[in-house]
């Protein structure tokens, strides 16, 4: 009888001690990046999400989450009002003072960094999984994504590598083109193309002369940029674009921004899709995954 009572007390104490439970697993998570949100869903942990940012658009149910705003201008108190146990973010999250304030209030902020490479992608997935205490599932997911990616890369091989130009709108002013060290550049190379503008880093405004000199074979742009420009008619108005081989042959590839640039779980599919579009003479890939 005393033994039973003792056991019951111990059990009650263990259950009642919030510290113990919390130290194990973060039950309320705010994700501040579309790709991180995708990874959480891919790990099957979406029930733990209590907030997401404006770029968390996939899967569609993520849009129903409480909105914490644009990742570069977060609100400390706003995020804290969701009573999170963990905030997942990339280096893009800011302003830095707000991140500090969230940490000072006792909520850990896990900044997930990664390289723009297949290895880096795996690293990203594993980081998130570890933060969620799902290391095993993370390993499995990372391997699966790597397998998809490798399969896609195999198909590409040493085929003719077309010159691809990626650009997108960033509000007013000229469209920005992607140079080296960008997500777009990495995806282009993974999908069997080469970046038409490889002599600068980052995103820079599109220069008419550089555009003509680059003579890209394919134009790549995200869906929202095409809409913002006003469809194909709008594209024609971009100076210098109509003189490119890509325009003459009407080789314009449009893809969803998060899918293409997110560097998340669907990267394998994205690379496969992009590869198909860049090199149509490649045999159809049987990945069994829908776009």
């Amino acid at each position: 009888m005393n033994g039973n009572k003792g056991l019951a007390l111990l059990l009650a104490a263990a259950l009642a001690w919030p510290g113990a439970a919390r130290a194990e697993e973060a039950g309320r998570i705010v994700s501040v990046a579309g790709s991180l949100t995708e990874i959480v869903y891919a790990l099957g942990q979406e029930s733990r999400l209590v907030g997401a940012d404006t770029t968390s658009l996939y899967p569609p149910s993520a849009r129903a989450l409480p909105q914490v705003g644009y990742q570069r201008s977060l609100s400390a108190e706003g995020i804290l009002s969701l009573a999170p146990d963990l905030v997942l973010a990339t280096e893009a999250a800011g302003p830095p003072a707000v991140i500090d304030q969230i940490r000072a209030a006792g909520v850990p902020v896990r900044i997930v960094t990664h390289d723009l490479s297949p290895d880096g992608l795996g690293q990203k997935v594993r980081s998130v999984a570890e933060a969620l205490d799902r290391a095993e599932e993370g390993e499995r997911l990372a391997n699966r994504i790597r397998a998809e990616l490798d399969a896609a890369l195999l198909r590409v091989g040493a085929a003719r590598r077309p010159k691809v130009l990626f650009f997108m709108n960033a509000g007013r002013g000229a469209p920005l083109a992607a140079g080296r060290d960008t997500a777009a550049d990495a995806m282009i190379r993974l999908a069997g193309g080469q970046n038409a503008l490889a002599d600068f880093e980052g995103y820079k405004p599109l220069n008419t002369e550089a555009l003509t000199a680059a003579a890209p074979d394919v134009l790549l742009l995200p869906e929202h940029a095409l809409t913002a420009l006003g469809g194909e008619a709008g594209l024609a108005r971009v100076p210098g674009l109509t003189l490119t081989p890509a325009w003459r042959q009407r080789r314009i590839v449009v893809m969803d921004a998060l899918l293409l640039l997110g560097f998340g779980p669907r990267t394998g599919t994205a690379v496969a899709t992009l590869a198909r579009r860049l090199n149509p003479d490649l045999e159809a890939l049987e990945l069994g995954l829908d776009r």
Binding site: G51, P66, Q67, V68, G69, Y70, R72, S73, L74, S75, A76, E77, G78, I79, L80, S81, L82, A92, G94, P95, P96, A97, V98, D100, Q101, A104, A105, G106, V107, M168, A170, G171, R172, G173, A174, L176, G202, Y203, K204, P205
Partner: protein, 379 residues
């Protein structure tokens, strides 16, 4: 057709009602000084109450009792309400500096606006008019886009690179305006305004050019900064701008009577014994100090410098001895209010405060113009 209208007024226009100057009915015996003092006391009380209220309201739920307990704990007073460490952190490191910053920024912008309106004898004068805001913005944009190495490299100072640059830019723009508008030791009002327009145009072009050169990441930072925000306010920022803004307020207040006399005109104020040129220089500098500091920490927040002095003039007349401190108080009240709205209306995100002040100030501005149209007497 000109009938014999009394005292030279042109027939056909409605006769202006021979009424008191101010729509608010004050007891006659109160007089200008009494009225002014009364408004100041009211505003100070409102500000205090609002600050306490704003401290207790926010996205994170903190009950009034808990608020008091947290504050009490700071002073070693033990109160019966329990609170968590997170609530304490939110109250003391997130809300409190933010409210204080809002009050300082609001006070600085409004007082600078009042001083400039008196200086330019133009009710439309606004700190943005003389180029301070755009100069500050240009400097900040330059730091963001060009990433000036010396400032960025200096470790701890790196955080202050942006505010310092904005402040410096604002002062430089103002000095340029002052130099352009100076002639034989005189600064004519019209020339000041035109110089301000020129500087604004130049700074705008510079900012546009830098925006054009900015990459995606920088661009998004720029857009949100240019809409103004008190988010991320810390005690460091409060400590950084409290001295310059308080100094600016003190300088501006010193020239209250000179501003009163300036209502009659530069020369007439000089004939009444006021050192007009020195007053102009000091007031412009003080205005630049206040606005530059405000822009540096909170981005561009419009309408405060325009709307607040006007509201006060409606309530108690243009006597600067009360208008200047009153503007500071009312500006603080307005901004703390606007910030309260900005951070509670779309929780868990927040609105840029410049949008809130524009939504409040824009219609007021239209109302002002409409009212002027209906009355005789112009700008």
């Amino acid at each position: 057709m000109t009938d014999n209208a009394p005292d030279g007024q042109v027939a056909g226009w409605p006769e202006p009602p021979a009424r008191r100057s101010f729509p608010l009915r004050w007891p006659r015996a109160l007089g200008a000084v009494g009225r002014g003092r009364w408004v100041l006391i009211c505003l100070a009380l409102v500000l205090l109450a609002l600050a306490v209220l704003a401290l207790g309201i926010g996205a994170v739920a903190i009950a009034p009792g808990q608020t008091l307990a947290i504050l009490g704990a700071q002073f070693g007073v033990d109160l019966p309400w329990a609170f968590t460490a997170q609530q304490q952190a939110v109250l003391l490191t997130i809300r409190a500096p933010r409210i204080l910053l809002g009050a300082l920024v609001g006070a600085g912008l409004a007082a600078a606006g009042a001083a400039l309106q008196g200086l330019f004898r133009n009710p439309l004068a606004d700190p943005g008019l003389i180029g301070v805001s755009s100069g500050a913005a240009l400097a900040a944009v330059a730091v963001i886009v060009l990433g000036l190495p010396p400032l960025a490299a200096s470790g701890g100072l790196g955080l202050y690179a942006l505010p310092l640059a904005a402040f410096g830019g604002g002062m430089f723009a103002t000095l340029l305006v002052g130099w352009l508008a100076h002639h034989h030791g005189r600064a004519q009002v019209a020339t000041l305004l035109l110089a301000g327009i020129a500087i604004n145009a130049l700074a705008g072009a510079g900012t546009g050019l830098l925006t054009y050169l900015a990459d995606d990441e920088q661009l998004r930072t720029l857009t949100f900064w240019s809409l103004g925000s008190l988010g991320g306010a810390t005690w460091r920022e409060v400590a950084a701008i409290a001295p310059p803004i308080l100094l600016a307020l003190a300088l501006i207040a010193r020239y209250a009577r000179t501003l009163n006399a300036l209502l009659l005109g530069d020369r007439e104020a000089g004939h009444l014994g006021f050192a007009v040129e020195r007053a102009k220089r000091v007031l412009i500098m003080a205005g630049a100090l206040a606005v530059g500091s405000a822009v540096a920490v909170a981005g561009i927040i419009g309408f405060v410098g325009l709307v607040v002095p006007h509201l006060l003039r409606l309530a108690q007349g243009p006597d600067h001895r009360f208008l200047l401190p009153g503007s500071a108080l009312l500006g603080a009240v307005l901004l703390v209010c606007a910030d309260l709205l900005a951070r509670t209306v779309v929780v868990p995100t927040e609105l840029p405060i410049g949008i809130v002040t524009a939504l409040l100030g824009g219609p007021f501005f239209f109302w002002l113009l409409w009212r002027q149209r209906c009355q005789q007497g112009g700008w």
